[in-house]
Symmetry: D2
Subunit: 403 residues, 4 copies
């Protein structure tokens, strides 16, 4: 039959398109969503294998790697776990530069899984100091540290951690640890170069810059990572690379999420053929600059301010915004959602209620950002949050200049 | 197979969603588009008839009528032609209040089809004077005028013609002509009351306030119109009501556009059940007010101005904007489209190049309008069109107050 | 919002896919349906014009013409009307070879529109005799006949009328009438050659071999037809070619059905690029042969028989099947629909209840036909319709040989 | 933009719908696929939570449980791993009744993860003897066995293992082990009763009887399983129930696969509201009986035969078919796929090449099965596989009687 289920909205509904200014899942192009609605086929059907192989090749271009990719039917946390259990052994020590909620979560996962964790402490608003990372590595003369796990884009703080500088620091002290990079919320939004930067394991997911629904995640893996894998004794099966290497797809223990690969084929076409990867990055940089300019303007009158105080570490995929004292970010988000159908990201962990976040990644353009910023400015007005009026106007000027 | 055709864009593509601020076709909700992608069935299948009958009942609620509806696989122009050929005979005289491009087009069609036309001349920027219409009717003591053909919403001028006042004028002079109303770009956006206002034939289409793709149009028809039909001698077949009355669907000479009725069922659910028709109208009024406030602000510095100079006649579904002397509207539209992926309406007929139009109807909300207005303001900046900056900001204030 | 309307089926629902063995609308590929669900854009947007122009070029290949195409937002009956009103004048005489329900309907339309009709009578089960057509033309020494209107595929009877032979007959008697061909249910299913066969006006629709939903129809028009158009005095507007020639699209009075052109682009890709037009025809011929073999087998035991008794006139897109005396086709169809979710075509006009039809056109393959034939054979068993068992088995053998 | 990626098929393409007679992923209703194409929202949006909570409630009805469900963004193998690592500790012993490829795979996973495995050996063609399971449990007087892991539907062999009889055997010997059931390929196809049968952990996935794309899997968990969880010391994070219980969704470490829940809501509507769960089971039983009757007929002439020789263990969701000596199943499958667009399942593990499988689950009806059986019979003819002709005809008779 041809029926379908009505979505019974829980809140009085605003009409029009939901503005998804929430940093993930992201704005998915219609053409990608429609591609995922194609009928399934056998994942060993030659017609599917052609799609699959093209996707692997395309994704390597996005990762800027010529090494290996392992896919999982899993979300990003699954690929985190896979990166660890495939390369480390029980009790191994990992070094984690503190960036925010996600560095802490990965650290927590390491602990739960039985690895030892050494954090490089940092102010979340400024980002982790590369010198501190280097110092920690230099101090590890026994090379007990087996991996450095760095979050390329800390979505909770709206910050970027320069992976290439961590690689340089490791090289300076000749440290042999694996370099792991969580690129979940950076990949496809701003530049990442797996091979050039000497990343051994990167962690990515479908639902951010690749502009797909949540459903698969993956690791890029270097030859060095594969060697570490062969020595690893951690128990694993679902995420096991060795198991995968024996399969046609060199990935996926179990069935393959066919429909997401239809979608990936289309999103790679959009990124690599229609727009061009460097143009994708330029667009994200342009859009992010407008958002930050608006927030900086709003801050003038004791208003909300950029959470990240270090311009070198600003993220081009998400901006975290610190509320003025005495004002709750979630109240503001509720106004934006209920009155204007704009979904903003909340503060994570200890930033809950104090921070809201504007995601500006994926299939996004200037008027979409302007609409979201407009809703924020109106919601501040309605919720009585102090701010200097005119942030949207400032963003308009930034975009008019850079268009 | 499961492939599909890539859309090869003709212009360097802007990413993100196209903002469709063009007054028709309109912003179609995803759920309506997806409903139209369901597989077809026999149009006499009981499962389809249940959908069809529910759609007819729902559409009568939108028209506020308990009389008849005839559907055509056609665009709005087809329903115009149907309204004429079903009720008039060769040489009959029709009275048409001038409103703009569409009143003139309907008049042209009347002439082509062999009817005589009497226009009630008017200033497009102020709208047709009801007293002038009444005077024309009063002068027609022989009742040669068989129909008054009035465009409820003149989308070319962004004006509303109060049908209820025309009915009152006809009643005052006891004129027996049929009252025909073109509601193509008003229906589902602001109030229309077929039965209460004594409209004999109304003309509507799928692609505006009903939030569907172009594909069917229809006439509401009063008992009086049916009586006129029985006396009409104009040759016709595809649009013939008598032919339709002999069919199960009481509509459609030939096959039925199944998939559009799947979509109509969903759009009626959104309008009648989820949002409520009066809320739909209130939302359109609110959104229109913000657009006009922005334009009025822009006009301050010898900028573009509202084409309609008569506040009583402002349309809530589309705003036409007159460019300053020496500036071409189509140049501005091109900037908005190519740089910001925002599609604005052009000037029609003699307004070509002098006017651009912002459609604000269908599945629309505040941030969508803000995004479109933002693109207009940026495009004016880029194209060197004089204007007072800050129109978007004014709209934000209007919406913050009225949200 | 993201809800959508549940389809509340009127009959106890069979699960699984509806088998649409009804000769139109036809089996639409998923990729075409999904293409029609893309968001609309301005029909003057360069991105749409690129799609549109490609579609016109592709459709000319299907029509095998290098002349003109005029599109209508209309069903096939609209294109019928357009073919007449654009080229004829009131009172003109047309010659119509009788083929069945659709030749009679076109004749009826001619009469309603004010043209004079001369039928060439024929037995529906054998098809109209070319010699009789030639005789009628030869007798028209005054050349009062202005057009010969021939139904290429009479879907009601499941017969083919050889248009090329009519052209030859016209040439033999040097008759100057226009040759019009209704290709609605043949185009894209079996061969049609507009230019080679000297067809002046052909009539086609979206919903059969082009594998699209109902929504647009069109005329191919020769230079000779355009000349006739310039002399025609019939009142018309919505379908008027002159009006269209003044527009960018050279088609469509009024708005353009955007989403159907997205679909057409995809169906043309499937037909012209992926499968190849001649392969499409070969597939239809193969599928049709299996259906006929099954029916011929069933007929053995006083069972249903092929309606068309003339193998030279068998249609490759639809097979009409005559029930044994005392058995109602619609009862059988109801069993197939309610118990097996298979939709068969009914008998039209005077064949109502006596004939059922199996459509075998569009996006169809052997197992789809076998499933439909299986449902017919089971429904005959359940409904107590006499037949020789094993028709499906015979079709399997035909297909195994021809695969 | 609105483009999408063409699927470039690797094999010469057959037109028409792919018949997916492959036991998983399964036939997905169009309405479910379209539901998954809706735009994403925040997984903490109240509008999503309403969908999510309704899905959990509906899925409990399918599982016939009032206990707990934990979801994973993972395929079925992920839920297997989750069932083990959440309830067992390193070195624990599990008892696995041998059923075929999947019992062996689960055993292999247990070993890889560090658990000890005791198999109850069995003939794959007859299914594991309940008495042998009982004997193994009775012999375990020390209660070293911590879990019995039973595959409800062994898709590789086309057999059913009666979980309720295993429960009875455990009760007879008062064995305290957890009872785990893999219901991946039975759930939603034939009856499963978690609470009544005393199942402690069941393992299910989206891509079989629930008629969804691959993408999430889940465990039903009893109170007893939760107690075992609290005592378990296996390292885990991504699949950790304790981690999940601290979250709003009581599931999902990491982001939630939104679009699959849109689809699940629709598939649950189809199963629970439109058809009714017991009717779903009756339909699968009816369809399976026809498939088996056809195969039994084909076997007459030294043809392929039912792999499962024990009628009490026949599966109603998949039938495995053993080829005659000297004939390769994959050659036959290739003919069916390339010539008739019918995808059959292959033999798994040691059955590779010797067995092919017909999946008959999900959104399926009689003509779909007839079409698939027809393709098998034609492919046998073409590939020269001996068989008694007429298997399709036998299936027709079964269905005509049971419709």
């Amino acid at each position: 039959m041809d029926g379908s289920t009505p979505h019974k909205p829980a809140r009085p509904t605003a009409r029009g398109r939901l503005f998804f200014a929430n940093p993930g899942p992201t704005n998915i192009p219609d053409s990608v969503l429609l591609a995922t609605a194609r009928a399934s086929m056998d994942f060993n059907d030659p017609n599917f294998l052609a799609v699959y192989d093209a996707c692997v090749a395309g994704l390597k271009k996005v990762l800027k790697t010529e090494q290996h990719i392992f896919f999982y039917t899993a979300s990003g946390h699954g690929a985190w776990e896979a990166s660890l259990v495939n390369t480390l052994s029980p009790g191994d020590l990992v070094l984690i530069p503190e960036t925010g909620y996600f560095s802490d979560s990965w650290a927590k996962m390491c602990g739960t899984l039985g690895f030892e964790v050494q954090m490089v402490a940092a102010d979340w608003r400024r980002g982790c100091d590369i010198a501190a990372i280097e110092a920690a590595l230099a101090a590890d003369t026994q090379h007990r540290i087996k991996a450095v796990c760095a979050v390329h884009n800390e979505t909770a703080a709206g910050t970027r951690l320069p992976i290439e500088q961590i690689r340089a620091a490791m090289d300076r002290v000749n440290h042999p640890a694996l370099l792991m990079a969580d690129t979940i919320s950076s990949l496809g939004s701003y530049d990442f170069r797996m091979d050039e930067w000497g990343v051994d394991v990167c962690v990515g997911g479908s639902q951010k810059g690749l502009m797909l629904p949540t459903g698969f995640s993956f690791n890029g893996a270097s030859e060095k990572a594969l060697a570490a894998h062969r020595a690893s004794t951690h128990p694993r099966h679902y995420f096991d690379w060795t198991e995968m290497l024996g399969r046609r797809h060199k990935s996926f223990v179990g069935t393959v999420p066919i429909t997401l690969f239809y979608g990936l084929q289309e999103s790679l076409r959009l990124m690599l053929e229609e727009e061009g990867l460097e143009n994708v990055f330029a667009r994200h940089a342009r859009l992010a600059a407008g958002v930050r300019a608006a927030v900086q303007h709003w801050s003038g009158n004791n208003g909300p301010q950029l959470f990240c105080q270090n311009p070198e570490r600003w993220s081009d995929s998400v901006t975290a915004i610190l509320m003025p004292e005495g004002h709750n970010a979630d109240d503001l988000r509720r106004v934006a959602l209920e009155r204007f159908n704009v979904s903003l990201g909340g503060g994570l962990g200890k930033l809950g209620g104090r921070v809201f976040r504007i995601g500006h990644l994926g299939d996004l353009n200037e008027p979409m950002v302007i609409g979201a910023l407009g809703a924020v400015e109106m919601a501040m007005e309605i919720a009585g949050v102090p701010h200097a009026k005119g942030g949207v106007q400032v963003a308009l000027e930034v975009y008019a200049k850079s268009a």
